[in-house]
Amino acid sequence: MSARSTAYSVGESSTRTKWIAAVLVIGYALVAMIPLVWIGMTGFKSPPDSIAYPPKVFFEPTLEGYVNLFTTRSRQTDEYIESLGPPQTWYDELVRERNMVITGPSRFADRYKNSIVIGFGSTFLAVFLGTLAAYGFSRFKVPLKDDLLFFILSTRMMPPIAVAIPIFLMYRELGLSDTALGMILLYTAVNLSLAVWLLKGFVDEIPREYEEAAVVDGYTRFQAFYKVVLPQMRSGIAATAIFCLIFAWNEYAFALLLTSGEAQTAPPFIPIIIGEGGLDWPAVAAGTTVFLLPVVIFTVLLRNQLLRGITFGAIRK
């Protein structure tokens, strides 16, 4: 009874309740990690191992999935393969064991590069514009300020497909369809709402007195902003940038509908990595791993700012 009655006092939980809590939480974490660990493992399986029954926990690791992810191959006769002479590289050798020959690089590297270009481009723009707007909203009397902020937020209520219809038509007219620039502008607009809300919270936390003192010292408003406020926003800007980057990195609906060849990012590409006879699961898993790993790392780096980012700055601590 005494253990239970102190159960909700902060820092006073009994050892036994702590143990039970630890076991349950760690149990959940481990179960929740199974899908990710499994996908990570599948990337190192051979295609037959990836569809074995019962599912193989222990297997001979191979880089076939990764090789298949980055190359295109064609099936050849034994005679033809022998006529090529001995394989030049380890990946040639790996592919030839399946009676295949590498015919060229796959498009995954291009898609990945697009993800990086569009992700960083839109993040830079959104954070740059967002910082200015956040400062403006935080420090000046802007008519209809509350309405504007709500308006910025409400743009997130549209289903992406609904936004994609007119954007599709607009981009077709402007020649922005399937271009990195078009996608950068679009992601910037979507990310701006998040960026402005988050950054405004960070500016609000910086005391005005600093700038006022700077202005008294003869700084102009711009200088006060640039030399006093901006340096103090550094960590807030970094956190906001990572959130914008993750959004652009993960985005799928616009990329699916508005890009096809040139500017396609990785998310619409990974599901269509086809091998012989259906999806090439080890290659899909390898692509998934390569794609998700940066986000996992950023999540760990960002863990203390996470709450703020995912609630549009509504909750700060």
Binding site: P55, A133, T155, L257, L306, I310
Partner: protein
């Protein structure tokens, strides 16, 4: 770079300002700076959010088809809306969406709140495990949907295998079966987003001052009473905010489900957004799809507004 450019603009502005007018102009230039800072954002949002929105509203009253740009566009009044609201299929998509929305929210609130309460006991290494639990929600939903189709394979998938080690139910065809597919998407969403609810509940729990529990202790309140009268009211605003954000997202749900089931089998998991994509980008009924988009937007907006009112009442 950009900062330097701004500075020089500022210097130029300062130099151009006669000293005797400086006092008056400082107020003015503040306003100029405000607009200079805010207008790019407003312009971009107008161009890429508001203008398209108005265009969608216009298109929703026409018979426009985006795959036939040369065809004459006819104003057909509210016929698209009449067709939509009278359609039993659309009602079916809304029901599928509601099923998904309600069950994901219920499961995530129960599990997320439970986890938050457990983590709040503050055992050693709880910080590390919290971070581990948070990982799924940061991942790309479309890629998550893709790899879950692999985990859900009826014969060779790990999901069915693990379930069968606990209960002999035979191969589970999570994606292909009419009765299981709606739950397949609920499970993946719950896996992915329970951490979100958990994180907000944790924030709520940390906002409760310990003296409240100490006071309750003196009043000999039991654990259940403390939860009901102290913990729950204090975390309710956080929980409701979490449900608001997740609710809006799940109402719009597209990417994860489209990759996982693409609306099938039949149309059992055809959520509103998935059907919207079919109408707009496969059947190319742009006008009709625009009307559907407007209806969805109004629905989200209406529901969210009502909800925010309730949220504000809880907060005050």
């Amino acid at each position: 770079m950009s900062g330097g450019a701004m500075e020089s603009v500022a210097d130029a502005a300062a130099r151009a300002t006669p000293k005797r007018m400086a006092g008056r102009l400082r107020g003015l230039s503040d306003r100029a700076i405000a607009w200079l800072f805010i207008s790019p954002t407003i312009v971009l949002l107008l161009a890429i959010n508001i203008f398209p929105l108005l265009w969608t509203v216009y298109l929703s009253f026409t018979n426009y088809r985006a795959n036939q740009p040369g065809r004459e566009v006819k104003w057909i009044g509210t016929r698209n809306y009449e067709r939509l609201l009278g359609s039993e299929d659309v009602w079916g998509y809304m029901q599928a969406t509601a099923h998904f929305l309600v069950w994901t929210m219920v499961l995530q609130v129960v599990i997320g709140l439970g986890l938050a309460l457990l983590i709040n006991r503050g055992f050693r290494t709880s910080g590390f495990w919290t971070t581990v639990i948070l990982i799924p929600m940061m991942l790309s939903p479309a890629v998550v949907g893709t790899f879950w189709t692999y985990l859900y394979q009826p014969q060779t998938g790990i999901f069915s295998y693990i379930i069968n080690t606990f209960a002999e139910v035979g191969a589970l065809n999570m994606i292909g079966s009419v009765s299981l597919a709606p739950w397949a998407i609920v499970i993946v969403d719950t896996w992915m987003w329970t951490p979100y609810i958990m994180l907000l509940c944790l924030a709520g729990l940390r906002s409760i001052p310990p003296y409240l529990y100490e006071a309750a202790e003196i009043d000999r309140a039991n654990a259940l009473q403390k939860f009901w009268y102290i913990t729950l009211p204090r975390i309710l605003p956080f929980l409701m905010l979490a449900v608001l954000f997740r609710g809006i997202e799940n109402f719009k749900m597209f990417d994860m489900v489209v990759e996982l089931t693409s609306g099938g089998p039949g149309s059992t998991t055809e959520l509103a957004s998935i059907n919207l994509k079919r109408e707009a980008f496969e059947k190319w009924r742009t006008g009709y799809a625009s009307a559907f988009a407007v209806i969805l937007f109004v629905t989200v907006f209406g529901l969210a507004s009502i909800y925010v009112k309730a949220l504000n009442r809880v907060r005050s």
